[in-house]
């Protein structure tokens, strides 16, 4: 039996029929009419994506300027170009996916979880490619400090992203939370790259990448809480 035969059987099968009762339609119309007034549509996706990128860049830069640009000063030119352009691409992709998640019926290219895995792998790959210091000193204590600082900047970036997209409607609040957390995490990593002068490969691959992962997990959990609360209210 081939696909065409299955198509033929499905085509000839009796599908569910029936129209909604007129009184239901009238109830719907009557429930909508009292609040029918013009609404301002969401801005174009490119503008929302651009705003999210600007928010991330502003948070990273403001944080780094506050504590110093030691990391940026220590990097050579190829490292600066590769790391910051790589980060820009990851932030753009995350912002684009987050905007799509907040608008029903948007085109989706990759699932949020796959996107997170790809971003973390890409970031770790960039660090491994550009930094070759294999020494490990105070791995845990310095690493935890970087993780904490990164998350400290990820939180405001995530909250500001939510503020930008507050008029959207998330089909899946948990997935939207994960993406918003990931975007905030990337802003945190941007800040760390500008500030952190520790170029040990293991430190960068583990602790700087962990900022994105942990921030995304926190965003996911926040999304779950929001979803539960919304259902309870409804």
């Amino acid at each position: 039996m081939n696909d065409k035969e299955i198509d033929g059987i499905l085509k000839n099968a009796k599908a569910v029929t029936g129209d909604p009762p007129p009184e239901v339609l009238r109830r719907i119309t009557d429930s909508i009419v009292p609040s029918l007034r013009p609404v301002r549509p969401l801005p174009p996706a490119w503008r929302m994506t651009g705003t999210l990128i600007a928010v991330c860049a502003a948070v990273s830069l403001a944080g780094a300027l506050r504590v110093g640009l030691a990391g940026f000063d220590k990097m050579d030119l190829p490292q600066r170009v590769v790391i910051f352009s790589g980060l820009a691409v990851l932030v753009w992709a995350a912002a684009r996916t987050l905007v799509a998640e907040m608008i029903p019926g948007s085109r989706r290219t990759v699932a949020p979880l796959v996107h997170l895995a790809m971003s973390c792998a890409g970031l770790a790959g960039l660090f491994a490619l550009m930094f070759h210091d294999s020494s490990i000193e105070n791995f845990i204590s310095i690493g935890l400090n970087c993780l904490f600082t990164g998350l400290l900047h990820a939180v405001p970036a995530t909250l500001l992203s939510w503020l930008v997209l507050r008029r959207g409607f998330a089909m899946n609040a948990a997935a939207a939370g994960l993406l918003a957390g990931m975007l905030g995490g990337l802003a945190g990593v941007g800040m760390l790259e500008l500030h952190c002068p520790n170029f040990e490969t293991a430190h960068l691959v583990v602790w700087h990448t962990a900022v994105v992962l942990l921030s995304a997990i926190l965003g996911y959990l926040a999304g779950l809480v929001v979803r539960r609360l919304t259902r309870r209210i409804a």
Binding site: M1, P22, I32, V110
Partner: protein, 234 residues
Amino acid sequence: MAFARNFLPGRTNLMAAARSRYQSSEGVHLHDEAEMPTEDGAMVVAAPSARSFESLMVRYQEGDFAAATALIEACSPRLYRFFLAQAQSRIDADDLLQETWLRIHRVRHTYRTGEPALPWFYAIARHVRIDHYRRAMRGATNELELEQQTRRDEIPARQPDDEYDLDTLLAPLSQSQRELLEMLKVTGMSLEEVARATSSSVGSVKQKVHRAYKKLRETMSAAGLGRERRERLS
């Protein structure tokens, strides 16, 4: 839901109501293929094609009552059948339809001009249905699950004069597979539209459809459907 149910009972012609309201409102004009003159010279909105959903949506966002009514008239039967295909009863489908329109109304600003409207509607309808069943499952007993499982295990034995209905044919599939095939085969949506409506990528939809066909091939072959059809055709 109670809010929606509390409006005027009794049967009236929805289009007549829309016409009278439309005629009584000043300065409202419809300027596209969806409008048609009546005997008394007034213009009312005709049942739109899928293509005109987009223009009606834009006018709905602008607060046009006639466009909102036309949209409810045109889109509700599709959504109703979508709910009927998997709802436990017609009352459930009525409730889901009303809840969907209330949500559509609340988030109508998230529709973006130029984007296909149908996937936007279905994405919200699907969201409402998932919410509804999550709530229902919380209160449901395991017996219901068992009953549904038994129903889906195999295509039941067929009497010679019976015709298969789509629901029976798709019964062996998982809920997400059934939903995809219903959108593709009953609603006539394209792969791209189904992907948008289900918040997944086109590749993911293709893969799920492929798996669904594989399962259908097995169950239909076991039930001798392909042989019967070939014999009938020859």
